[in-house]
């Protein structure tokens, strides 16, 4: 037996490289705290003394905000829910002309931000729009002598939200229908249900958790919207927050309104989490089975085509056509040096935000892999909460602490150096990047986690046993396998930032403009045709993640059928 001090090694001895005991956990905790700053700030105002305006608010507008929010939520639940479930069911169960195209085309309205579709339909359907003009000329009527639905109303807002948010329901419900065991449906048929009854009694109850999750995502977007409700004059929390902050200059009341809005959001998060948990038990099979794809009589086949094409036409094709028409009229004046500057501003900002959001996503995802623990999981879930928090609320939540930080810092530099650096945190792109990271971290985190999940721990070990250092494993195994996921994460956050309106509107530095803000400003000035070029640019870029999403779905289906047993 050798004495350890006499050990002779042919290679330099070195301890198994271990991270400092809680390096990952510590950095993840710090990041989580930073990410949660705006949410903590808003929550803290729940306990702050109410401002003078508060009593006024509760007596006048608050009941209206609550009522309008509830009406919007109910309407979108019915609208987006019925469109999403119907299209998902038809495309997964029946064979009809155009089905293959519609399966992915049904996702296209996701590329259309709600405020842009609202501007487009207003331009088409308003009193001065081409449709009403045509009615007046054809029937020789004056305004007021015929009935026409008012697009700028709460009903119009519900229609707009339903048209662009149903893809959330469609996506999740379709996945749920495809996952269902055919046996369950067949069994119900042998037990005397017709196709219609099996849908209501078996398929829909099995898919219910997915449908609920899809609807809660759509409702989160509805609550987060500012552009549409502001334009349609529907008073909700988001418009109220803008009004109290910028109209009444009351930050405390704005923060308190934000806190109330967050309570709605927390309810939705709970609903979504709960339904996803239930979804686990509803999952009946792991193997993907091709559904029978029943063929229908000819007339019903075309009915299916019409039913599934309608949301695509209304939610994407018509608005895009209108934007194109407007843009052809106006692009000569609108697409100038200033527009190029606007676009490059937007793209640079979005790309910067996508890269910045990557850092905490990577730290949290790797932390969970290297040092899995309850604390790490909690950090990850909490940091991902921002996706549900409306941009307006996040804007208020970052502006208050960073504004205070700037005041304190300026006070200190003046006292110490007699120098005023200005609003270096709250008045620069820094605060925008921070807010975007809070809002969209969930997106990059989910994508990075999915990518990392593909790298089994044994792959690391296999590489180490073949003489790779940790760094080499990272470079030669992780990076190539993750490259696709990282790119996807960057693209999705990029597009989300490009579309984002309310937080950008509040937080952008003085004289700094983006495509989304410009679209909003022009539309608010009733220059809808002039706003079309910027709007079209946003929609065009928005199509990229839709394509990514649909090819990813197609690939995962194809992969499952060819994948051989490797376990």
């Amino acid at each position: 037996m050798q004495n350890p001090s006499q050990l002779t090694l042919d290679v330099k001895p070195d301890k198994i490289a271990r991270m400092p005991l809680s390096g990952w956990t510590l950095s993840s905790a710090v990041l989580t705290l930073l990410i949660l700053t705006p949410i903590f700030t808003i929550c803290a105002f729940l306990f702050a003394p109410v401002s003078a305006n508060w009593a006024h608010l509760t007596n006048t507008v608050l009941p209206e905000y609550v009522r309008n929010s509830l009406i919007l939520m109910t309407g979108v639940t019915v609208g987006a829910g019925s469109i999403g479930v119907t299209t998902a069911w038809l495309t997964s169960m029946y064979q009809f002309p155009g089905r293959k195209v519609l399966i992915w085309a049904l996702l296209l309205p996701m590329a259309m931000p709600a405020y842009i579709i609202a501007y487009t339909y207003t331009g088409m359907l308003d009193v001065s729009g081409p449709l009403q003009e045509w009615i007046r000329i054809t029937f020789d009527l004056q305004y007021g002598e015929y009935w026409f639905p008012q697009i700028r109303s709460i009903g119009g807002a519900i229609a707009m939200f339903s048209l662009v948010l149903y893809p959330y329901v469609y996506l999740l419900a379709r996945a749920a229908f495809l996952d269902q065991s055919v046996c369950a449906l067949d069994a119900s048929r042998t037990l005397g249900c017709n196709a219609w009854q099996s849908f209501w009694q078996v398929a829909l109850p099995l898919a219910r958790p997915a449908v609920v999750a899809g609807i809660s995502l759509a409702l989160m977007e509805t609550l987060a919207d500012y552009g549409t409700v502001q334009y349609f004059g529907v008073a909700t929390f988001t418009t109220g927050i803008f009004r109290t902050w910028f109209g009444m200059n009351d930050a405390v009341a704005a923060a308190q309104l934000s806190a109330m809005l967050m309570l709605f959001v927390f309810g939705l998060i709970a609903l979504e989490r709960w339904s996803r948990r239930r979804a686990r038990y509803h999952h009946t099979t792991n193997t993907y089975q091709t559904l029978p794809e029943m063929t229908l009589p000819r007339t019903r086949r075309y009915l299916c085509t019409v039913l599934c094409a309608t949301p695509v036409v209304l939610g994407f094709l018509i608005p895009v056509a209108q934007l194109l028409l407007w843009s052809l009229e106006t692009f000569r004046e609108m697409v100038d040096q200033r527009f190029i500057e606007l676009a490059s501003n937007s793209f640079a900002l979005a790309a910067g935000a996508a890269l910045v959001a990557m850092i905490p996503a990577l730290v949290l995802a790797y932390g969970n892999r290297e040092q899995p623990s309850l604390a790490m999981r909690v950090c990850t879930r909490l940091s991902a909460m921002g996706y549900a928090i409306p941009g307006t609320v996040i804007a208020v939540g970052v502006l208050i602490p960073f504004g205070a930080l700037d005041r304190w810092f300026n006070g200190w530099t003046i006292a110490a150096f007699d120098y005023r650096p200005g609003l270096i945190f709250s008045g620069t792109v820094f605060i925008l990047l921070f807010a975007y990271t809070v809002r969209f971290l969930a997106v990059s985190l989910a994508t990075v986690e999915a990518g990392l999940g593909k790298i089994k721990p044994s792959m690391d070990e296999a590489a180490r046993s073949m003489g790779s250092s940790r760094l080499h494993v990272l470079r030669s195994v992780h990076v190539p396998i993750m490259r696709g996921s990282l790119l996807t994460a960057i693209v999705i956050v990029f597009v989300d930032v490009l579309k984002e309106l309310p937080a950008t509107l509040v937080l952008r530095p003085f004289d700094f403009n983006t495509l989304a803000v410009r679209t909003y400003e022009l539309a608010s000035d009733e220059r809808l045709a002039d706003s079309s070029s910027a709007a079209l640019a946003i929609v065009a870029v928005g199509i990229v993640p839709v394509i990514l999403l649909s090819t990813a779905i197609a690939r995962s289906r194809a992969g499952q059928s060819t994948q051989r047993k490797t376990a």
Partner: protein, 350 residues
Amino acid sequence: MTEHLKLDGISVALDGHPIVRDVSFSLESGQIGSLLGPSGCGKTTLLRAIAGFVQPNTGTIHLRDNPIASADHSLTPEHRNIGMVFQDLALFPHLTVAGNVAFGIRDQSKTVRMARVTELLELTGLEDYADSYPHELSGGQQQRVALVRAMAPQPHVLLLDEPFSGQDIELREQLAREVSGILRHDGITALLVTHDQMEAFAFADVIGVMAAGELHQWDSAYNLYHRPADRFVADFIGQGVFIRGSVMDNGHLQTDLGVIAGELIGAYPPETEVELLVRPDDVIHHDESPQIATVVEKSFRGADHLYTLELPGPTRVLCLAPSHHDHAIGESIGIKLEMDHLVVFACETD
């Protein structure tokens, strides 16, 4: 020292739970060993300690006379030159078959690398798949890629962590023999972890039986079966039953099956109450034998029948009879015991 890989009193604890306790064994150069035991017995942890993914709490591991791991020193996995084939194979999905195999020899010149990859793929009949990706191969082919990938850097020792467990049962033994043949062809020292004894028998020269973190016996397959070191090994390896008996003055055994003569393994004084291990092949079906037993269960296994027989007492034994000796359940048949050496263990006193 002739030992190529040597473990000395290795104990491993994970999160404070002892997983491996005081294990010592060694492999000679070119020898193929196997660690056999039920799941959760610590065999995989022991393998990971040899590979360098966990550090032992006590003991030392020597590789070619160099200490590679002890409680206070541990060489990183990449510096050990120990190859490993993983249970889930862990092939890199982003690399082709050739890319996977060349991963461990990336520092060598391109010509050397190509030559080694070609050689290994030819050895395993995968030469046509060099440019395929892992997901395009069948399970058996993936298996062979994982094996040659680990072999490519010519590791001092190759570790295999239940690499056949994902395969169909019928294929496992054949694969184990195939892989064993490839390793022997290259003269590689290897250690296989498995819970399947037929796999271990087909693969290894020397087998260690592990249970609850302890190594019970490190021996040849023949000895594990015929001279098990303790009751656990006797139970775990092969089939058989224990029948009670007592040691007679002349060293024979007095049992319910009569007096059994044979070489007693181990020293037991007369009058000791013992249990005798009776393997199915110790019980011979013989029509003229005065010893009669009743068939209680039978299973036809192609080349032979495995009968469960009941003797007065009542004692049950297993009997392996040629295939054409077909008897019905309830029938009485003559048997006799043929045992050269008697494997006995002292009765556990309650």
